[in-house]
Symmetry: C2
Subunit: 163 residues, 2 copies
């Protein structure tokens, strides 16, 4: 926005609070993209897999009773439509199972299989190392400060989502 007059005028019209908002958002996005790239690259290189696949297994690993498609898509913050193909492929590879939901015959319960769990457990320590590596230069105090500040942001953004 720095080389075009219209945008410059618009930028100049912003007050300090508005300018910090945009810069904060861009920095937040840069940080999460950088760590995500590190994780994506590692998953591809070391496990020949993708982040969405890892994320699905991660969610199912936390849910001994299985998850409905609806809950899984809610946890992953993606639409059920975008998830269907991925779940079918993971089921085809024996990493998860689909069974009719006893509470709702039209719906499925999705569970991680023994094989899926073994695969996930191999990836977990590596994922940990990639994330920790990205945070390695921060002291524990700096991490706590950031964690608390992000907690406030999460609250604020959550309130804004519903408006």
């Amino acid at each position: 926005m720095m080389n075009s007059d219209g945008a410059l005028d618009y930028e100049a019209s912003l007050d300090q609070d508005e300018r910090i908002d945009l810069r904060l958002w861009l920095r937040l996005l840069t940080c999460s993209t950088m760590i995500e790239r590190k994780v994506r690259a590692g998953l591809r290189r070391e496990f020949n897999t993708t982040l969405p696949r890892f994320d699905v297994l991660s969610q199912l690993d936390c849910a001994a009773d299985g998850l409905t498609m609806r809950t899984l898509s809610h946890h992953l913050m993606v639409s059920p439509g975008n998830l269907t193909g991925l779940v079918e492929r993971l089921a085809g590879e024996g990493l998860l199972s689909k069974q009719s939901d006893p509470n709702d015959r039209r719906s499925f319960l999705i569970r991680i299989t023994t094989r899926g769990k073994a695969f996930f457990d191999r990836m977990t320590p590596a994922n940990h190392a990639w994330v920790s590596g990205s945070l390695a230069d921060l002291s524990i105090e700096e991490k706590m400060t950031l964690f608390d500040a992000l907690g406030r942001l999460k609250q604020s953004a959550g309130r804004a989502q519903s408006t």
Copy 2:
């Protein structure tokens, strides 16, 4: 990871520093996903467009002399392959132009058109409002604290990228 013994053992084996790393990363990802969803939903609803389209126009709006595909893909942190189709479609709609790069005949310079700029300038204040709305509950001091803490994280993650 709370309902499976193997994962519980692994979780239990983590020290405090390692556990905060994962929680911090998940919270960071949640925050950026929440704001991104707000922006995506607004762009779709009010301008019938997508975030990748907005991001391309945003980058070009900052570059009066145009950008090569290589630089654009670097700024957006996506591969040139993933960008090609999008750039072609935006060019087809007259929102950007592609011209041979005078410094490298095999390469193109991409520029925003007057029409693209007019469209982008309509979206900018709305984008601003969605982002500011997500941050509305934070004081200016809280925003500065978060901004600085993310600056440290960005440095740390940048160093980790290259290792």
